[in-house]
Symmetry: C2
Subunit: 149 residues, 2 copies
Protein backbone atom coordinates (compact mmCIF):
# COMPACT_ATOMS: atom_id res chain seq x y z
CA UNK A 1 0.00 0.00 0.00
CA UNK A 2 2.92 2.36 0.62
CA UNK A 3 0.52 4.12 2.89
CA UNK A 4 0.76 7.35 4.78
CA UNK A 5 -1.16 7.56 8.02
CA UNK A 6 -4.80 8.53 7.97
CA UNK A 7 -3.85 11.40 10.23
CA UNK A 8 -1.52 12.82 7.60
CA UNK A 9 -4.31 12.63 5.11
CA UNK A 10 -6.64 14.45 7.46
CA UNK A 11 -3.98 17.05 8.12
CA UNK A 12 -3.75 17.98 4.47
CA UNK A 13 -7.49 18.36 4.36
CA UNK A 14 -7.45 20.62 7.39
CA UNK A 15 -4.62 22.76 6.12
CA UNK A 16 -6.14 23.05 2.67
CA UNK A 17 -9.31 24.26 4.33
CA UNK A 18 -7.38 26.78 6.39
CA UNK A 19 -5.66 28.07 3.29
CA UNK A 20 -9.02 29.38 2.14
CA UNK A 21 -9.73 31.36 5.31
CA UNK A 22 -7.97 34.48 6.50
CA UNK A 23 -9.08 34.69 10.16
CA UNK A 24 -8.12 32.31 12.91
CA UNK A 25 -10.36 29.24 13.08
CA UNK A 26 -11.03 27.11 16.12
CA UNK A 27 -10.70 23.36 16.16
CA UNK A 28 -14.46 23.04 16.52
CA UNK A 29 -15.00 25.26 13.53
CA UNK A 30 -12.60 23.30 11.39
CA UNK A 31 -14.24 20.10 12.48
CA UNK A 32 -17.57 21.40 11.23
CA UNK A 33 -16.08 22.51 7.94
CA UNK A 34 -14.31 19.25 7.21
CA UNK A 35 -16.68 16.79 8.87
CA UNK A 36 -13.80 15.27 10.77
CA UNK A 37 -14.34 14.32 14.43
CA UNK A 38 -13.57 17.15 16.86
CA UNK A 39 -11.04 15.35 19.10
CA UNK A 40 -9.08 14.21 16.08
CA UNK A 41 -9.00 17.69 14.60
CA UNK A 42 -7.87 19.13 17.92
CA UNK A 43 -5.13 16.56 18.24
CA UNK A 44 -3.91 17.19 14.72
CA UNK A 45 -3.83 20.95 15.15
CA UNK A 46 -1.74 20.54 18.28
CA UNK A 47 0.79 18.52 16.35
CA UNK A 48 0.81 20.94 13.46
CA UNK A 49 1.28 23.78 15.88
CA UNK A 50 4.24 22.06 17.48
CA UNK A 51 5.71 21.57 14.03
CA UNK A 52 5.16 25.27 13.42
CA UNK A 53 3.02 24.82 10.37
CA UNK A 54 0.18 26.64 12.09
CA UNK A 55 0.24 29.28 14.80
CA UNK A 56 -2.16 29.13 17.68
CA UNK A 57 -4.03 31.84 19.52
CA UNK A 58 -5.25 30.89 22.94
CA UNK A 59 -8.12 32.39 24.78
CA UNK A 60 -11.76 33.03 24.16
CA UNK A 61 -11.54 34.14 20.54
CA UNK A 62 -8.54 31.95 19.81
CA UNK A 63 -7.91 29.51 17.05
CA UNK A 64 -5.35 28.54 14.46
CA UNK A 65 -3.83 30.25 11.44
CA UNK A 66 -1.37 29.05 8.86
CA UNK A 67 2.11 29.96 10.02
CA UNK A 68 3.31 30.59 6.47
CA UNK A 69 1.80 31.33 3.13
CA UNK A 70 -0.04 28.41 1.50
CA UNK A 71 2.44 28.58 -1.36
CA UNK A 72 5.34 27.86 0.93
CA UNK A 73 3.90 24.86 2.76
CA UNK A 74 4.34 21.61 0.87
CA UNK A 75 2.83 18.19 1.28
CA UNK A 76 6.30 17.02 2.25
CA UNK A 77 6.21 19.49 5.13
CA UNK A 78 2.91 18.12 6.34
CA UNK A 79 3.99 14.51 6.16
CA UNK A 80 7.28 15.35 7.78
CA UNK A 81 5.48 17.02 10.65
CA UNK A 82 3.23 14.06 11.35
CA UNK A 83 5.29 11.03 10.41
CA UNK A 84 8.79 12.18 11.15
CA UNK A 85 11.54 12.15 8.56
CA UNK A 86 10.34 10.82 5.23
CA UNK A 87 12.03 7.56 4.47
CA UNK A 88 10.76 4.47 2.70
CA UNK A 89 13.22 2.20 4.45
CA UNK A 90 15.07 2.20 7.74
CA UNK A 91 18.41 2.44 6.06
CA UNK A 92 17.56 5.35 3.79
CA UNK A 93 17.01 7.25 7.00
CA UNK A 94 19.97 8.29 9.06
CA UNK A 95 19.44 6.04 12.07
CA UNK A 96 21.04 2.85 13.19
CA UNK A 97 18.84 0.76 10.95
CA UNK A 98 19.34 -2.78 9.77
CA UNK A 99 22.27 -4.99 10.49
CA UNK A 100 23.16 -5.54 6.89
CA UNK A 101 24.13 -1.97 6.15
CA UNK A 102 27.79 -2.65 5.59
CA UNK A 103 27.36 -5.15 2.78
CA UNK A 104 23.90 -4.26 1.47
CA UNK A 105 24.25 -2.98 -2.07
CA UNK A 106 20.61 -1.99 -2.21
CA UNK A 107 20.89 0.70 0.41
CA UNK A 108 22.32 3.44 -1.72
CA UNK A 109 19.63 2.91 -4.31
CA UNK A 110 16.88 3.33 -1.78
CA UNK A 111 18.38 6.64 -0.92
CA UNK A 112 17.90 7.86 -4.46
CA UNK A 113 14.41 6.48 -4.78
CA UNK A 114 13.64 8.25 -1.56
CA UNK A 115 14.88 11.54 -2.91
CA UNK A 116 12.68 11.24 -5.95
CA UNK A 117 9.61 10.50 -3.87
CA UNK A 118 10.30 13.41 -1.57
CA UNK A 119 10.74 15.62 -4.59
CA UNK A 120 7.28 14.68 -5.77
CA UNK A 121 5.88 15.51 -2.35
CA UNK A 122 7.67 18.81 -2.23
CA UNK A 123 6.24 19.80 -5.57
CA UNK A 124 2.72 20.20 -4.24
CA UNK A 125 1.83 23.07 -1.94
CA UNK A 126 -1.19 23.91 0.14
CA UNK A 127 -2.07 26.55 -2.40
CA UNK A 128 -2.33 23.77 -4.96
CA UNK A 129 -4.46 21.63 -2.67
CA UNK A 130 -6.80 24.51 -1.96
CA UNK A 131 -7.23 25.14 -5.66
CA UNK A 132 -10.08 23.12 -7.14
CA UNK A 133 -8.20 22.24 -10.33
CA UNK A 134 -5.41 19.76 -10.87
CA UNK A 135 -1.67 20.00 -10.39
CA UNK A 136 -0.13 23.07 -12.00
CA UNK A 137 2.46 22.84 -14.73
CA UNK A 138 5.31 23.75 -12.41
CA UNK A 139 4.92 20.29 -10.95
CA UNK A 140 6.82 18.59 -13.72
CA UNK A 141 9.80 20.88 -13.67
CA UNK A 142 10.23 20.72 -9.93
CA UNK A 143 10.29 16.95 -9.99
CA UNK A 144 13.01 17.03 -12.60
CA UNK A 145 15.18 19.41 -10.68
CA UNK A 146 14.91 17.62 -7.40
CA UNK A 147 15.50 14.21 -8.90
CA UNK A 148 18.82 15.37 -10.28
CA UNK A 149 20.68 14.85 -7.02
Amino acid sequence: MLKIGKMSDYATVLLAEMAGVSQAVSAANLSARTQLPVPTVAKLLKQLSKAQLVTSLRGAAGGYTLARSPESITVADVLGALEGPLSLTECAQGGSGCNRQHFCGTKRHWHHINQAVIAALKAVTLADLARPVAIPSKFKSVVVIEART
Copy 2:
Protein backbone atom coordinates in the same frame (compact mmCIF):
# COMPACT_ATOMS: atom_id res chain seq x y z
CA MET B 1 7.82 7.74 7.92
CA LEU B 2 5.97 6.99 4.71
CA LYS B 3 7.30 3.52 5.21
CA ILE B 4 7.15 0.48 3.04
CA GLY B 5 7.09 -2.88 4.79
CA LYS B 6 10.31 -4.50 5.83
CA MET B 7 9.29 -7.43 3.69
CA SER B 8 9.25 -5.26 0.59
CA ASP B 9 12.69 -4.06 1.42
CA TYR B 10 13.92 -7.64 1.83
CA ALA B 11 12.28 -8.58 -1.44
CA THR B 12 14.25 -6.03 -3.38
CA VAL B 13 17.42 -7.32 -1.80
CA LEU B 14 16.53 -10.87 -2.77
CA LEU B 15 15.61 -9.99 -6.31
CA ALA B 16 18.69 -7.86 -6.78
CA GLU B 17 20.74 -10.82 -5.66
CA MET B 18 18.92 -13.11 -8.08
CA ALA B 19 19.54 -10.67 -10.90
CA GLY B 20 23.22 -11.48 -10.61
CA VAL B 21 22.79 -15.23 -10.93
CA SER B 22 21.78 -17.18 -14.01
CA GLN B 23 20.87 -20.57 -12.55
CA ALA B 24 17.95 -21.31 -10.31
CA VAL B 25 18.67 -20.68 -6.63
CA SER B 26 16.97 -22.30 -3.68
CA ALA B 27 15.49 -20.40 -0.79
CA ALA B 28 18.21 -21.72 1.49
CA ASN B 29 20.88 -20.59 -0.92
CA LEU B 30 19.42 -17.10 -1.17
CA SER B 31 19.17 -16.94 2.58
CA ALA B 32 22.88 -17.65 2.85
CA ARG B 33 23.71 -15.07 0.23
CA THR B 34 21.67 -12.28 1.77
CA GLN B 35 21.94 -13.18 5.47
CA LEU B 36 18.18 -13.02 5.78
CA PRO B 37 16.43 -15.70 7.88
CA VAL B 38 15.45 -18.80 5.92
CA PRO B 39 11.72 -18.88 6.73
CA THR B 40 11.35 -15.26 5.78
CA VAL B 41 13.14 -15.78 2.50
CA ALA B 42 10.98 -18.80 1.72
CA LYS B 43 7.82 -16.88 2.50
CA LEU B 44 8.85 -13.96 0.35
CA LEU B 45 9.75 -16.14 -2.61
CA LYS B 46 6.35 -17.76 -2.44
CA GLN B 47 4.68 -14.40 -2.65
CA LEU B 48 6.92 -13.26 -5.45
CA SER B 49 6.19 -16.47 -7.29
CA LYS B 50 2.47 -15.94 -6.94
CA ALA B 51 2.93 -12.44 -8.28
CA GLN B 52 4.84 -13.95 -11.18
CA LEU B 53 7.98 -11.97 -10.61
CA VAL B 54 9.93 -15.18 -10.14
CA THR B 55 9.32 -18.65 -11.55
CA SER B 56 9.69 -21.69 -9.36
CA LEU B 57 11.13 -25.08 -10.14
CA ARG B 58 10.07 -27.82 -7.79
CA GLY B 59 11.94 -30.95 -7.00
CA ALA B 60 15.35 -31.91 -5.79
CA ALA B 61 17.37 -29.47 -7.88
CA GLY B 62 14.66 -26.84 -7.86
CA GLY B 63 14.76 -23.21 -6.93
CA TYR B 64 13.70 -19.82 -8.19
CA THR B 65 14.59 -17.73 -11.21
CA LEU B 66 13.56 -14.25 -12.26
CA ALA B 67 10.50 -14.51 -14.42
CA ARG B 68 11.55 -11.59 -16.59
CA SER B 69 14.73 -9.76 -17.38
CA PRO B 70 16.12 -7.60 -14.57
CA GLU B 71 15.66 -4.57 -16.80
CA SER B 72 11.92 -5.13 -17.03
CA ILE B 73 11.19 -5.57 -13.33
CA THR B 74 10.80 -2.30 -11.48
CA VAL B 75 10.72 -1.43 -7.82
CA ALA B 76 7.09 -0.51 -8.36
CA ASP B 77 6.46 -4.09 -9.47
CA VAL B 78 8.02 -5.46 -6.32
CA LEU B 79 6.12 -3.16 -4.01
CA GLY B 80 2.93 -3.84 -5.88
CA ALA B 81 3.42 -7.56 -5.48
CA LEU B 82 3.90 -7.38 -1.72
CA GLU B 83 1.80 -4.46 -0.61
CA GLY B 84 -1.01 -4.50 -3.11
CA PRO B 85 -1.89 -1.51 -5.25
CA LEU B 86 0.37 1.45 -4.55
CA SER B 87 -1.63 4.23 -3.00
CA LEU B 88 -0.68 6.77 -0.37
CA THR B 89 -4.28 7.25 0.71
CA GLU B 90 -7.42 5.19 0.75
CA CYS B 91 -9.16 7.46 -1.67
CA ALA B 92 -6.37 7.57 -4.24
CA GLN B 93 -6.97 3.86 -4.51
CA GLY B 94 -10.05 2.63 -6.26
CA GLY B 95 -11.85 1.15 -3.27
CA SER B 96 -14.76 2.34 -1.19
CA GLY B 97 -12.51 4.45 1.00
CA CYS B 98 -13.45 7.34 3.19
CA ASN B 99 -16.88 8.77 3.68
CA ARG B 100 -15.91 12.23 2.56
CA GLN B 101 -15.17 11.33 -1.03
CA HIS B 102 -18.02 13.28 -2.52
CA PHE B 103 -17.06 16.66 -1.14
CA CYS B 104 -13.34 16.21 -0.44
CA GLY B 105 -11.42 18.55 -2.70
CA THR B 106 -8.11 17.05 -1.69
CA LYS B 107 -8.81 13.67 -3.21
CA ARG B 108 -7.99 14.46 -6.79
CA HIS B 109 -4.71 15.99 -5.75
CA TRP B 110 -3.66 12.88 -3.92
CA HIS B 111 -4.23 11.01 -7.12
CA HIS B 112 -1.66 13.11 -8.89
CA ILE B 113 0.85 12.96 -6.08
CA ASN B 114 0.40 9.24 -6.16
CA GLN B 115 1.15 9.09 -9.84
CA ALA B 116 4.37 11.00 -9.36
CA VAL B 117 5.51 8.72 -6.58
CA ILE B 118 4.72 5.63 -8.62
CA ALA B 119 6.64 7.12 -11.51
CA ALA B 120 9.69 7.41 -9.33
CA LEU B 121 9.31 3.81 -8.28
CA LYS B 122 8.87 2.64 -11.85
CA ALA B 123 12.03 4.40 -12.88
CA VAL B 124 14.29 1.98 -11.03
CA THR B 125 14.71 -1.60 -12.22
CA LEU B 126 16.32 -4.66 -10.72
CA ALA B 127 19.15 -4.20 -13.17
CA ASP B 128 19.80 -0.84 -11.55
CA LEU B 129 19.66 -2.30 -8.05
CA ALA B 130 22.06 -5.07 -8.96
CA ARG B 131 24.49 -2.55 -10.35
CA PRO B 132 26.92 -1.28 -7.71
CA VAL B 133 26.79 2.32 -8.88
CA ALA B 134 24.08 4.91 -8.46
CA ILE B 135 20.94 5.61 -10.44
CA PRO B 136 21.54 5.86 -14.18
CA SER B 137 20.83 9.00 -16.13
CA LYS B 138 17.66 7.61 -17.65
CA PHE B 139 16.11 8.01 -14.22
CA LYS B 140 15.49 11.69 -14.62
CA SER B 141 13.85 11.50 -17.98
CA VAL B 142 11.54 8.69 -17.00
CA VAL B 143 10.31 10.63 -14.02
CA VAL B 144 9.53 13.56 -16.22
CA ILE B 145 7.59 11.55 -18.71
CA GLU B 146 5.54 9.70 -16.15
CA ALA B 147 4.78 12.80 -14.11
CA ARG B 148 3.20 14.39 -17.12
CA THR B 149 -0.12 12.58 -16.73
